[in-house]
Structure formats: C-alpha cells, structure tokens
Symmetry: C2
Subunit: 193 residues, 2 copies
Amino acid sequence: MLRGDITAAIRNAVMNELAEVGYGRLSIEAVARRAGVGKTAVYRRWSNKLEMVLEIVSGVAERSVPMPDTGSFATDLQLTMFIVSKALQHRIASQIIPDLMAEAARNPKIAETLHRALRTHQTAVGETIVGQAVARGELPKGTDPGIAVDLMIGPLYWHLAVTRTPIDEDYLEKMANAVTAALKAAPAGPPAP
Amino acid sequence: MLRGDITAAIRNAVMNELAEVGYGRLSIEAVARRAGVGKTAVYRRWSNKLEMVLEIVSGVAERSVPMPDTGSFATDLQLTMFIVSKALQHRIASQIIPDLMAEAARNPKIAETLHRALRTHQTAVGETIVGQAVARGELPKGTDPGIAVDLMIGPLYWHLAVTRTPIDEDYLEKMANAVTAALKAAPAGPPAP
DNA sequence: TGACGTCGAAACGCAACCGTTGCGTCGTCG
DNA sequence: CGACGACGCAACGGTTGCGTTTCGACGTCA
C-alpha cells in the first residue's frame, strides 16, 4: 500500500516548502498542493505537521558524513571544513538549517531531533579528528574537544549562515591554518608577547 | 498625539511575542492582546507586521555597543567576547536573533536591516580591535579583519545560539587565548610541525 | 470478475487572523 | 466649555489553514 512515488513527492515538497517559507508558516495544504497530491495522502502518512517535518528532516540528516582520517590533522581539518562549507552553501540546506535552529529554541522536540543529528554527524566528526590528532602528537594532550569543535565549525557557520557571504578556497585554507594554530596553543595560559 | 506609554507597551509586546512564537507566526492580534491594547492603536503606528517589527527591532539594536580600547589585544578581545556572550545569553535576544537571522535568509528587507545593525555594532567592533592591535604590532600586518571577526564571533554564536549550552569564565578565557594564537599565526602558510 | 485500498478532488465545520470601520469614552488643548 | 483626537471594544467580510469526511476513479491481487 502507500505508493512510494507519492511519498517521495511529498518528502521533496516538504523540503522545498520548508526552505521557502520556513517551519512556522509551513502548511500541509501547501505541501500537498506543491506535491500535486491530495491532503488525504499526507494525512495517511503523518498525523502532524511537526511529526511529518521531524521524520523527513531527520531522514535526510541521517545520510552520513564521511569521517576523514588522512593521517594529518591539517588535512583532516581542511577536508572537514570543506565538507561543512559545501553543506552550508547548499541552496536548500542553507535555508532550512538556520530556520530549524531558531525553531528548536522554542520547540523541545525539534531541539532534541536536531541536536541528535548534529551531535552524531558533525560534532562527533570534530571530536574524532581532534582525538586522532592528539594521539598522533599533533595537538597537545589536554586539548578541549568542545572548544575545538566550536573553533572549527563556528566561524564557518557564522560566515555562511549568518552573514551569508560566499567563501573561496583561499578563505578555507587561511581559516584552517588559523584554527590549527589556535588549537596547538590552546591549553597554555595567556600567550607570551 | 499617540500616547507614549501605549507605544512602549506595544514595543515590549512585540519583543516578547517575537521571542515566543517567532516572526513567522507573529500576529498583530496577539501583539495587541498582549499589550492590552486595541488593534487600532497598533495600526495607527505601523501599517505592516514587517514594518512594525523592523522599526522596533532596529530601534533596540541601535543601542550602541561599547568599543573596547584597553591597550592590549588580549583584553580587548576577552572583553568583547564577554559582551557578546552576555548578549547571546539574554533570554529574549537569544530567541529573537536566530529567528530573525533565519527569516533574513528569505526576506531581503529583514536581511538589509539586520545586516546593517550587525555590521555597525558588532563587525565594526571586531575590525577596530584588530586594526588597533595591528597598529600596536600585536598582530601581524596582513591580518585579515574578516577572518578575525569570524574567529572572534563565530565560535560564540555557534556555541550559544546553536548548541545552546551555557558557557563559563573559563571557556571564555580559553577561547580568547585560542583566537589570539590563531590570529598571530594567521598570514603564514601551513604551520611548521 | 470482484473486493480492497490508495488515489485526487471537493467540501465540511471550526478557528485564527487580516485590515477596516463605527461607536462611545476620556483627556487635553484652546 | 467645546472641539479634537487617541483610546478600547466589537464587529465586519474575506482569507487561510486545520483535520475529517465523502465520493468516484484506478490498480492490484486473488
């Protein structure tokens, strides 16, 4: 039962509608309209706007992120930042992600789903890379993985999702170098002048 | 004409409503209800939801940010990060800012207003601090102000507005040290092993 | 061939909000 | 005192979306 092509059309419509109008203004009527489908077909699959969005979005988010292990922290880092920057510049993702982030601030279910996706698929990558680098002796032993992740992802997210200006290879390289330098100096006190 | 206390009540209601339900679901009826005011009073002041929100929000954002000049980049930086972190942990601001950021991605007027506020009141601070530090010789001459701002604000924004876990003094100090180290090493190529 | 279940379309009653209007009250200015 | 204007309140007609229901068409399996 439940034709697969129709389910796919709805999933697709939800993602696009989400990107265009955001979660707050997303309506099931509009989704059905966009998918070329009756409302009946939607309600037969999900009972809620919330349930529908969560299921579809986390389905997409589950598509795994490659875990780099090139043998060098610098290249691991640059590769990771490259992947994240690609994701954050994706036409649909770049609209949906900040929107759901904001929505998560007031809807616990969204927060939970989003943070799980984030943790398993982004933060974990960062923590692994840092762990490998520490094991290799490239980073000091006490390196704080939390700060490391913030340093790796924060500037990218800020630049791409907030100020929304595109970045080039040069930017990525400079930033990766800066982050590497930051982490190598991390556990020390105030840097010597 | 136009009683000031009522205008203030509406402004206040808009900020709170914005924090609770977000721009997308904000309704003028709810604002008036919350302010204890007739819809008439609202429409007499602004003609649009958009116009109203923009005027009120940019009014709030205009409250200027202090420009630190302590004579040392490290303290300037830490002070700035402290201020930004306070702002991003404010109950209302922490809800409204990400919401409007997301909304800006699809509404050019919001984007314009928000980016102007951002540029004049945050980015400018960062660029000034970096400029001073370069003039003092604390940072290398070619230091890229754009990257510097991303490094200073990005991790804070990511941590506070996205992952939404609180931070302490220790975190701030570690992060400030890391950022300083990053910027001192910035214009160089791949760091020596 | 017939039974079953999904499909699109359309309509249902209900609720919320839009932006506007008319009404009667109240405070202020002249 | 009288005119004026902002105020609240309530109602307007119109739109949009909710979640449900009914209908006939179609496809699939037995």
